[in-house]
């Protein structure tokens, strides 16, 4: 009984090793599909993955309108204080006061790209962009204001 298990062990081990060798041997002999990106050379044709998280951006439409209501959910969700929402009060047509954002300050140098702010946002105002060439010579350039100057909130976003 013991001997049978022993031989079975050896047979199974050799078989699994040969399967592995076969796989890598296939890759070695079929040198076509290459996953290496020769980055600075292929900058023009570089395609980043959909899910790549490079920095937080706030998309604006053609009328320079965003979807941010200034609820500060992203600021509360951020684990390391990367986002600061500066709000102001606007008076709308009916004379009512309404909360809106003045500035949404984003510190790229503190961000860990954890995506928690994007998940927390109730109105889909912010998202992750696939950019990655963030290096600058001055650290203050990494502090960004996400809403465009003069932008306002989109109609119908509460």
């Amino acid at each position: 009984m013991f001997l049978k298990d022993y031989i079975k062990d050896i047979y199974g081990a050799i078989k699994s090793l040969l399967v592995g060798l076969n796989r890598t041997g296939y890759y070695f002999t079929h040198h076509k599909e290459i996953i290496t990106e020769q980055y600075p050379d292929n900058r023009a044709t570089l395609v980043m993955a959909e899910r790549f998280k490079g920095e937080v951006v706030m998309p604006h439409d053609a009328n320079n309108e965003h979807r941010c209501t200034g609820c500060t959910a992203c600021e509360l969700a951020c684990p390391n204080g990367t986002i600061k929402v500066v709000t102001k009060f606007e008076v709308n047509a009916e004379g009512k006061k309404k909360k809106a954002i003045d500035k949404l300050v984003y510190h790229l140098e503190l961000c860990t790209m954890c995506n928690l702010c994007v998940v927390a946002c109730p109105s889909d105002a912010i998202k992750m962009a696939p950019t990655f060439e963030h290096s600058v010579y001055d650290r203050s350039l990494l502090t960004k204001i996400l809403n465009n100057p003069g932008s306002k909130i989109m109609e119908g976003v509460e």
Binding site: D9, I10, L17, G20, T24, Y27, F28, I35
Partner: protein
């Protein structure tokens, strides 16, 4: 026809006609030493590049392609970098042993070059116990690793060195028994006799299944002996940073690195000599014309071709298999390889006595 042995004998004739025997001897020793060192440098450059290429191709990458045409000068650039780097000795280290260890590793590799037949009649020292000499001297390797690990005054180094000790001591056994099963067939430990006995066919074909089994065991054991993945517990990057050479930098690290590759070359050369007929060309029974064509290929090309094929095999292992744990490593040796190789040796002896081999 062009051959290494003719070049060697013409140099010898010219030297002995110009100088007296003593000076001839001295000059020949110097030439041999310089050519071995040159071979080391070339092997280091070629094997490092080959390893990186094989690794890249297996992992669907491109490998080094920036330095020189097709990246061929990459290992040259690495060498220059290592030469320029500072060779640091840690404060708490045993300075003498720490600096001695890489040289011992190198000297062992150099000693192992002596009995290898690189081509027909081209061998440094054809001593009558060649194979025994190789397995004896290769165990000195572990001393340099233990020395490096102990003198570094670093727990990772020490752990790596201890693992390496356990590993080499156990795997020497099955490597020795695998070699022994061929020695049983040839009845000689001399490298040139072993090669001559394969003139009508290599032992891996002539020795039936036991020869193939012992070849497989030999390849596993020498992979373990040279501390390469999947048996690279002595280095184990993910657990021990770099194992026994954690504290080494610059040229001293480069010597360890080089000795690893030279050792791989040597064990593959031994494997090629014992199982695949060394410099013997490939012959098939009575196909006279085919055999003549094979004879036309120079013997040195046969030797290096076989050796590099085995080196490729070992590199293939490295980039395919995951690393073993230390208990799995010792289990594999003592529970599987050793009993199998003992049984194999028994069968091989029976075959040799009954004359069943071709």
């Amino acid at each position: 026809m062009w051959s290494l042995s003719k070049i060697a004998s013409s140099i010898h004739e010219w030297l002995s006609s110009t100088f007296n025997p003593t000076i001839t001897q001295v000059i020949e020793m110097v030439i041999a030493g310089v050519s071995i060192i040159g071979l080391f440098a070339v092997l280091g450059l070629v094997l490092v590049l080959m390893e990186r290429r094989v690794a890249a191709w297996i992992q669907i990458r491109l490998g080094p392609n920036r330095v020189g045409p097709l990246g061929l000068l990459q290992s040259m650039a690495d060498t220059v970098k290592l030469l320029v780097k500072e060779g640091l000795t840690p404060n708490g280290a045993d300075k003498f042993l720490f600096n001695l260890a890489p040289f011992i590793a190198m000297i062992v590799a150099m000693l192992l070059m002596a009995p290898i037949a690189f081509a027909k009649d081209f061998q440094l020292w054809d001593l009558n116990i060649g194979v025994l000499y190789v397995s004896a001297v290769s165990s000195i390797m572990v001393i340099s690793i233990l020395m490096a690990g102990w003198s570094s005054n670093n727990k990772y180094s020490l752990m790596g060195a201890m693992r390496s000790g356990a590993q080499i001591v156990s795997y020497e056994l099955s490597a020795g028994l695998a070699i022994l099963s061929i020695v049983v067939l040839t009845g000689s430990l001399q490298v040139s006799t072993i090669i001559q006995s394969q003139a009508d066919g290599w032992w891996i074909f002539k020795g039936h299944i036991p020869a193939i089994v012992s070849f497989v065991i030999f390849m596993i054991a020498v992979t373990a002996e040279t501390n390469r993945a999947p048996f690279d517990l002595a280095e184990a990057e993910s657990e021990l940073t770099a194992g026994f050479h954690t504290e080494y930098s610059g040229m001293k690290f480069a010597l360890f690195f080089l000795s690893e590759y030279v050792n791989v070359f040597i064990v593959c050369a031994i494997g090629a000599t014992i199982f695949l007929g060394g410099w013997m060309p490939f012959h098939i029974g009575h196909w006279e014309s085919f055999n003549h064509i094979m004879d036309y290929i120079p013997s040195s090309i046969w030797f290096f071709g076989k050796t590099f094929m085995l080196i490729f095999l070992i590199m293939w292992f490295r980039w395919t298999f995951p690393r073993l744990r230390i208990d799995q490593l010792l289990n594999l040796e003592w529970k599987y390889l050793l009993p199998i190789s003992m049984l194999n040796l028994l069968i091989m002896t029976a075959i040799a006595i009954l004359g069943w081999h071709f």
